[in-house]
Symmetry: C2
Subunit: 337 residues, 2 copies
């Protein structure tokens, strides 16, 4: 987990005007960059995920085979490894960490890809959830650079309902007086545990719970799943301000806010030149397939392929072998095209 690199962004000016001085982008790579620099894949992280949380989709014999591709996993700003409230020195530390957009994340990643590695073309950008949002943003920010995109369980613009779901998570964290407006000395664990319980109903589908599939993950009861998986998840090195920074990024995600599109999401989607394979999960409660149907209608070369089954959003988390096989097979097909 400590095996990763830092790309120094220097003075990094964000879309909303703040400048993060000495900004850092943490990343990890898998495989070897070809001499012609033509085998690169970018695979950004998800909400609170770290690069190692993406590794389930990378491996010998898989679509993302490090013996074939050079896979770059950049950590999202705010995730605790790249510049974040928890690791930024004053005055932009903690509650004062600035607002970061998906556009900013991709701008930072673009500098890494071009300045450090001299890469001019990307074979593929792919990602889960907020990683899918960054995937769309790559295709809009750099249409001539990205050959293929495979966003799964995510969207190009955060829907109103998705924003509301996130309001519940935010309200749970900040309802804890220990949060203290973000100036806590110790994590507001009551709020983090509450946020975990709020999140639990959204992460997996109604049918997942009806079928007691949490047992397949090694949890002995519903309450054991809520404590062992969900509270454990939110307490595992997570920082409340980091979570709120990424939550703001998520709530305000919209490729239409890319400079030049003036808020027109459809125009931004139409500008995509990459071949797109868009994979929502059948029972995802906050990125429902209908929203991606809408996006696909506006992308010139796009296919919608719904991940079947009852795992909901967590179809893209790497916990269910069937879903992993489905996504891997789709990526293989897309990379061969």
């Amino acid at each position: 987990m400590n095996d990763y690199q830092i790309f120094e962004l220097g003075d990094f000016t964000l879309q909303h005007g703040a400048t993060l001085r000495g900004a850092k982008l943490a990343y990890q790579t898998y495989g070897t960059l070809a001499a012609d620099r033509g085998n690169a894949v970018v695979y950004p992280t998800w909400y609170s995920g770290r690069h190692w949380d993406n590794e389930w989709l990378i491996g010998p014999g898989m679509a993302l085979d490090p013996e074939r591709y050079f896979i770059i996993v950049p950590n999202m700003l705010g995730n605790g490894l790249s510049s974040s409230p928890s690791n930024t020195p004053p005055p932009y530390d903690r509650a004062r960490f600035p607002r970061v957009t998906v556009y900013d994340n991709v701008a930072a990643q673009h500098r890494l890809v071009t300045e450090r590695f001299g890469i001019e073309r990307l074979r593929l950008v792919t990602g889960w959830s907020m990683g899918a949002g960054q995937t769309y943003q790559w295709a809009v920010s750099h249409p001539d650079m990205v050959e293929r995109i495979a966003p799964f369980c995510g969207s190009s613009r955060t829907s109103p309902h998705n924003k509301v779901f996130l309001e519940g998570v935010k309200a749970a964290i900040t309802a804890d007086a220990a949060f203290a407006g973000g100036w806590y000395r110790e994590q507001p664990t009551t709020g983090l545990r509450a946020a975990a319980r709020v999140y639990a109903g959204w992460g997996f589908s109604q049918a997942f719970y009806w079928d007691h599939l949490y047992r397949s993950l090694g949890y002995s009861s519903l309450e054991d799943f809520l404590v062992g998986f969900w509270e454990g998840f939110f307490l595992d090195g997570r920082d409340a301000n980091n979570l709120l920074t990424m939550l703001w990024t998520w709530q305000n995600a919209d490729v239409g806010l890319t400079p030049g599109f003036d808020g027109d999401t459809v125009a931004a989607l139409r500008s995509i030149r990459a071949r797109a394979l868009v994979m929502p999960a059948e029972k995802d409660l906050y990125f429902p397939p209908e929203d991606e149907e809408w996006a696909v209608r506006h992308i010139p070369d796009a296919e919608l392929r719904v991940i079947p089954g009852v795992w909901g959003h967590f179809a893209g988390h790497g916990s269910n072998p069937d879903d992993t096989r489905f996504i891997d097979a789709a990526l293989r097909e897309l990379l061969a095209a």
Copy 2:
């Protein structure tokens, strides 16, 4: 709103063992009881609802026509009008209010119906959400008394996912230090507002928000809907302990826990003699239609009729004229059968 009656339950022993001394059941009636006592309908309240919140489905020319039927709306225990944490004197007051089951609610209502009114048969029991749960319970507790049931947007047994959704609501209320284990002097409004924001994503469907249908309710923006409707809802005379009492009732609802069924929900459903018209809403996120399909398979004389559209759970709240017409027409048909 102050126009209602109280039925004195006296020393009322609950299913889990506590005795509420001087227990009270608040209720309102609409219409006139026929001389043969053959025109009675029971229409219980929903989670935090009061009798007046049911009045949208009662009126001249509607199925529940007070010129034709005698409609009794009993307030659920814990709702602030019937015995509740907020109105019970010590020692069973506030955080010490005992656990109440759906079975207990129906037992209290049965006493009202038989002892005060001498009613032996009910033409119909109907209700929304937790009112639907009480409707199922009536048919299981008193199979020879209930001729018809029409539960809408509710269930006979709270599903695991529904329990998880409620954990999020509970965690949000109790994350507020002002809650003080239930011994607050003033309402923990930070927690109540957080619970409102958690609830907001569940009450209406993704498509409702995508289509900005909150505007049809008079709200000018998404945030206006969250504050004006949802926070307003949770602050409108609601009490945190009351909400948690009803939440426990909801999480633990299961007709299989009726004495004599030993936890066997299917056996309890099979015992129903009433004709059942079961109406889940197409996009209800916590009482999805699949769960009611399952219930209907086990009730001898039951029909599933899905309320179409995008209003989700709140299809049964009386806010959308199309849904109101659908439910009213179904009740008319059922009452004529």
